[in-house]
Structure formats: C-alpha cells, structure tokens
Symmetry: C2
Subunit: 368 residues, 2 copies
C-alpha cells in the first residue's frame, strides 16, 4: 500500500539531499504507509528504505514488511508487565535498530513540530553529530494529489455520507433537537458500515445566535427553522465532507430565495474548477458572486482539500496562490448566515480532472 | 478551576528545584488548567505563575486569566488569512511572551516525550543556556488523587454510564448485531447529555474467536450468546469505565455459573480495597481467587485508575507496588473468557475512602 506515496517522498528527499529522515507527524506516517495507525508511530527513512515503528497492538502494521524496501518493527503498547509507555518503548526500538546501522553523521530530515525532544535525543545518542533539517510541511503538497488507493477510500466515505444525509433529511422535524437529528445520522451510517465511524462536523438550527459552525446541542427545531447538516465520515483515515440544509416545514420565502441563490453560487464555483486555475481566484470570484447577489459574504473558506485531515491543500481562500492539479480532491461550500434567524450552506466534493471537476458527493441538497 | 492541581505541581517543582517549566503533554495541560483544551496547548510555569497558550477557537480558555497567578495568551487557529498552523502560531506567541521576561538561564522542566523539537528551539533562542530537565511522568502520581471538582465530572459520567447500560441491556436481542446494540447505547447517552459524547470501549458477542476486548462490528447475537458491554463516557475530559454482560435469552447453565463466579470475584476484589493496601497484592489475590475457582486467569489487569485517560495510576497489575490512597478512583474488572463460546466480565468503579471503597458506578450487572 501507498508505494507511490513513498516514491514521491523519496524523490523529494533526494532533491533535498537528505539520506536520513524521521517522520513523526502522525498524518505523514499514515500517508507514507497507508496504515491508519494509532499514535505514536515513527517512520524512519534511510537511503531509500523505510522502517516503520508501530505499537504491536496494531496488527495491520505487520503487512508493511511485505512492501518493497520496507521493514516493520513493533514495540510494546498495552501490557500488565510494566508501565504503559509507548513513547519510551518506541525510543527503545529505535535505539536498538540504530545500533546495527552505519554511524554516518550528516543532515537528518525531521518533522520538528511533532518530533519529541526525547526521541531526537535518542537518535542523536546513536548517531552523534547529526544535524536536524526541517522537513516540516514538505509532504503537504504531495498529499494534495490523491492516488487511486486513496480515492477508493474517499469514494466509500461518500457512499456513507449519502446514507447519513438521507437519515438527516428525514430526522429534521418540528420539536426534534439537533442532537436527535445527529444520533439518527450517526446510527444510520454506523449500522450500514457495521462498525464505529469517526464523523463530524456541524448540526445547527437556524435560530441559534451563531449558526454557521457548531456541534449539535439540545436546540430544538422550531417553526420556520432550517438545519445545516455538515457531515464528514472518515474511512480508513480518509475524510469526506459535505453539507446540506434541511427544513422541518416548507421553507419561508426568504429561505427559498437564499437556498436557490446558494445552489447557484455552488454551481458557479464548480464551473470555475480545472487544473491550472489559481485557488485564490476561485475564492475571489465566488465571494464576488455572493456580494453581487446582495448577500453578506461568508467569513469562512470557499472550499478546501481533504485527505487524512478535514482541511488540506489546496485551500480555497484569499491568500492561496496554488494552482489546482489533476488528482486534487476539493470541497466547495458557499453559505449565507443570518444569525439567530436562518443559515443555509450547501457543499459538494469534487475530484479535479483534466476536464474540470468530477462530483464525489451525491447527497440530495434540494429544497423540499 | 484546578487551583489545587497547580498548587500540587508548584510544590513538586519547588522540591525539584525547578523555577521554569514547559508543560506540553496534553493531559498535563488539561489537568493543570481544568480545561478540556484541543491540542496543541502549552502551559508555561515561571516562579509560581502559570501562562496558558491556547487556540483562540477554544473560548473557554480566557477564564484562565481570572485564576490567581494565571495568564491566558491565545494564538490563531483556524483562519482564511494564512495557512492553518497552530504549532507555529503557538511558538510565535511563546517567543513574544519570552521577549518580555528575564533572561535567566538554568534548568527548565520539560515533558520531553511531548515537547516538540521546534518548540524547544524557540524556547532556547529566547533563553540561551537553558538546560532541559525531564519532568516526564512526574504529574501522574499527583493525578491519581482526585479533587472534588474532578469527582463531580466523574460522577456525572457515571450517571450517563447507567443510562447507556440500561439501553444496552434492552438492545441485546437475538439477531441484533454488536453495532446495533452500540448505536442504541450511544444514542441513549447522547440524547440525555444533549451533545456529542466521547465514548468507548468494547461491545463483543461471546462467539467471537477473540471475545475479550474489541470495538463493535457486525457479529450477530446468536442462540446461547452473551454480550460484553464495556462502556466509558467521557465528561469534560474525565473518563469513566464500566462493564456488564448481557444475554438475549436465559443464560446457559455454564454462563450462569460463570456470571455468578465473576460476581463473587468482583465482590472479593472490592473487599480488599482500602488506603495503604499495595496494588499488586490485590491483583495477586484476585487472580488467585479465579484460579482457585478452576477458571483460567484473565490476561488483562485486575483493575486500574481513571482520570483524563482511561488507564491511569494506580494500575492493579502484577508489578505495581504502589499503595492505594484516599482519593484514588479505581476500576475492578475480573472476567472469564472462553474464546468462540462465551465471555463474561463485570466492572465497577470505586472511590478509595478512609474506610474502603465507595461505589461510583451504579449500572445493573445482574443476571436476567
């Protein structure tokens, strides 16, 4: 799994002139291995080979040894024989592994925002004279282009997203609370998946004072209300994202008008997507579309990439000069919010292709 | 909040001869502030004063400034104006804060299994000549004695645990799957809580090949089955834990006998608990009780403390020479497992008091 990701990383390291690297960022390790490992885990790169240090309780990690140029070393996690201390056991395993290697010193690529001081000290004790070279964030641009393996997980996520939205649409009834709607969504998704699923994000009635982004609470759906259901389902570590707005009754004239306008804004945003287009230009144009329609422009992103986290590159925000590339998975999510009255947001996901944008999300966002 | 915790920590630092300390372990920061903060967060100690660096999106953190000798500094988290990079923004805030302080060098207490190399470098740039002194794990013994504030959260958790178990007992019916039972439990708890709740741990039918510890899957409850529901509900960061074993039909003679024996083992374990007793002795005696009954001795702990994580001190395991103290919150959880046939575990929580053990969990663990 994820051989292509390791090839891309190895090429990057080669270009950077780095022969050794310690990947400690949890998302980096998951991206380079394809394994949805628990923390802590370490991926050690040495001249083209990768060694994964993982908690022995995560048995899937053993498959890593069957990948080309890859080794898996496990360390003790849960035990009744000594204190549970995964960071120390990982350090012990690294120390033992390094004792057998060459003692070459030089620059070592590190992710210094996640590399613990103690683990770095363990490394330095075994390889004195090594100097850290920060690779922090260097994998993010590589992660923005998805492989077929990643897309398969993401597509499965969107299958479950549709199931969640179908349940959410049905659950939005007068007198139900946000949390009641949410538990219906969660139950529907988990029963189909046949297991626990990590899920998010927002489930908010329109009459909340802050009705843009919030976890469900016990606010009740009242007359003339709308409910924003912004739903992510995470499959094998890979996020999805989606949003629809539902109504317990027929929407008011104002809600109808707003909903239609957000549909148009979303369609407009989609029409702008193709490889080579600059993210900030899409952002600016969609914000302009909202303003031209006479609506207050949403304060959040116009959209964003997804992957091992819910918000990745390319972010569709005012500062971002990145260009879209084939293989990006992006969200587009215009919205209109009248605090305390009603909020409308619609969000779809797309794969950036040679010709434009292929829809990945398929939930029903229509007016009732 | 949590002034007593900070006083205990300050006393420890004083005894250690440390005037400066960086608390970066997420659980340490939560314990020292009483705030269930998102990561990353930093608590900086300097000669009796605490400064909390927290993501501005966590608005509750501002209350920290009203505590004696405490300051709160926020840093940017989510924004559309620059890349989202909480570790760098935290480092920026620390750098700015240190620029105004005295430039005294010396030993600095650090939690070196969580302190990122980059954050340490930021600190060293501002305070050259400082030497790290590991405080790793030093708060764990202090955390094992709960305060009234902590007990209030834990008691609220156990109120929800009872609601979850009541729903679980009802949901165990022939043909239902583990995940179906789980979604009933989860829904019952979240509807009463009126919000999302972090929950765990096991929901397993007896006929699974490995029937001791596992998340719910789509295994169905079959004839003569039992189901272990091991349930934690986390309230404001504080864990609970509990276990019961349920039956879709009348238990078999073997299950009846096993269940009765585990009830006796649990009662025996409880009878051993009082301040001053050594954890490993309780462990040894309860394992002996199981063996004397002719049952295979469970391979897991006899029990454990809980708090900001699900497994804390005092662990009731073979190596642990710690003595119970008043204020410990401990779990006791004997079990019998016949792989592929049936598994029985019963677990209760207790506050260690001057006289013995006060029950904190109140779910029904009886035979049907």
């Amino acid at each position: 799994m994820h051989q292509e990701q390791r090839q891309r990383a190895a090429q990057l390291l080669d270009e950077t002139g780095v022969e050794l690297a310690l990947f400690t960022d949890h998302d980096s390790v998951r991206w380079l291995t394809g394994l949805n490992l628990p923390a802590p885990a370490l991926l050690f790169f040495e001249r083209g080979s990768f060694t994964l240090f993982a908690d022995e309780g995560f048995s899937d990690a053993s498959s890593f040894s069957s990948e080309p140029d890859c080794t898996h070393i496990s360390f003790v996690g849960y035990t009744i024989d000594q204190p549970i201390d995964a960071p120390s056991r990982l350090a012990d395993a690294l120390r033992e592994s390094l004792a057998n290697g060459s003692a070459k010193s030089g620059r070592v690529g590190v992710e210094d925002k996640s590399l613990p001081l103690a683990l770095w000290q363990t490394f330095l004790d075994a390889r004195p004279g090594c100097e850290p070279l920060s690779l922090e964030g260097s994998l993010l641009p590589l992660r923005a282009v998805k492989t077929e393996e990643e897309l398969a997980r993401i597509r499965e996520g969107f299958r479950l997203v549709t199931i969640g939205h179908d349940a959410g649409r049905k659950a939005v009834r007068l007198g139900q609370r946000e949390i009641d709607v949410w538990t219906e969504v969660q139950t529907a998704v988990e029963r189909v998946a046949g297991k626990w699923m990590q899920m998010g994000n927002d489930c908010i009635v329109g009459h909340r004072p802050a009705n843009m982004s919030a976890a469900p609470l016990d606010f009740e759906i009242i007359a003339n209300d709308a409910l924003i259901l912004d739903l992510s389902v995470v499959v094998d570590g890979y996020w999805t994202d989606s949003c629809a707005t539902y109504y317990a009754e027929q929407p008011t004239a104002q809600q109808f008008q707003m909903h239609k306008f957000v549909e148009e804004a979303l369609a407009y945003a989609v029409s702008l997507i193709r490889p080579g287009v600059v993210a900030q230009e899409v952002d600016q144009k969609v914000r302009g579309f909202m303003a031209n329609g006479g609506y207050e422009v949403y304060p959040h992103h116009t959209g964003h990439g997804i992957g091992l986290t819910g918000h990745e590159e390319p972010r569709i925000v005012p500062y971002n000069q990145e260009r879209f590339q084939e293989g990006n998975v992006i969200m587009l999510e215009p919205g209109i919010y009248i605090p305390g009255v009603t909020g409308i947001r619609l969000e779809d996901a797309f794969l950036v292709t040679a010709n434009g944008a292929e829809p990945l999300s398929h939930h029903d966002k229509s007016l009732p």
